[in-house]
């Protein structure tokens, strides 16, 4: 297992770069007038999870985007996936 310093040496610049992409994306959506789209709502919920400690942020964010139900659906609504669960917005 690497030390925290080694992890920073390996990944800090890459992570900084990805964070700026997230920030620029949020600015882009705002410039476009903003939206209450369920994907945006899920993304905002997920961003808040970055502050959680305990070493399971990736898992928590994946759960945040996931369909938590257990019953099969009656018919497949097409083939694709949106990346966030429309039922998760509380809307």
């Amino acid at each position: 297992m690497n030390s925290a310093e080694e992890v920073l040496d390996l990944y800090f610049l890459e992570t900084r770069h990805k964070l700026l992409d997230v920030a620029a994306f949020l600015d882009r959506v705002e410039r476009a007038g903003g939206t209450g789209d369920f994907r945006m709502q899920a993304l905002k919920k997920a961003l808040a999870l970055l502050h959680e400690e305990g070493g399971s942020r990736a898992e928590a964010i994946l759960q945040c985007f996931s369909d938590p139900t257990r019953e099969p659906v009656d018919k497949a609504p097409g083939k694709g996936a949106a990346g966030a669960w429309p039922g998760g917005t509380g809307a």
Binding site: M1, Y11, A58, F65, S66, A84
Partner: protein, 270 residues
Amino acid sequence: MKYIEPHAHMVSRTTDDYEKLAFAGCIAVCEPAFWAGFDRSSADGFRDYFDQLMLHEPRRAASYGIDHYCWLCINPKEAEDLALAREVIALIPERLTSPTVLGIGEIGLNKNSRNELTILEEHIALAAAHEQLILVHTPHLEDKYKGTALTLDALEAHGSIRPERVIIDHVEEHTIGMVLDRGFWAGMTLYPDSKCSIPRAVDMLDRYGIDRIWMNSACDWGVSNPMAVPRAVLEMKRRGWDAGRIRKVVLENPAAFMSQSRHFHTGIGT
């Protein structure tokens, strides 16, 4: 470093990709049957596809010194039409004796529908009846967590499926725990935009250990990289992994799982 690519859709790749795999140290590729990016109009489309997997791809791979194996099924994206799915399943039993067929796969769920689940259960029964290994595709993105849970339930409900003969592929941080805890093998798919990045895959190895787990590129007709496994090797080296642990993940583990099929014959040496 010698490695096995345990999940690749080579029918979608150019011959140049076989050459790249060979240069990178790949000694075997395993190709599950899946969706072609469009729906086939009849079972005949699958008959031809199975021939491509069983006859044509092994020849293409052999010219680069790579062994090619395949898995047969109708994939969940085309399983909503029960009549078509059952026609395709009927093609499978006589093909299971073909010398490069490793088992039934990649079966599973896509949108977690009742028909998909019915066809998954019929595939599980087929595998049990013919004592075949199973390779499971788990759904994408928001559907993965639910689909993985439903799939594990269906496998356990059958009653005679041994979890060590089943690999649940495309696991991520929210599904890997349930897969390993219930005794199944787990596959991590290294994709650029969805599924799992290479650093996250190595994180999961750090957290969950290196038993009953493999990594694959699943390179197909979509955005994907056939060099993902060699890149993961580089990532493990950057993090200071020793050669023995890397070899276990990318070579010994896939060989151990697939050697449970009498059709797998690739020697990995020492």
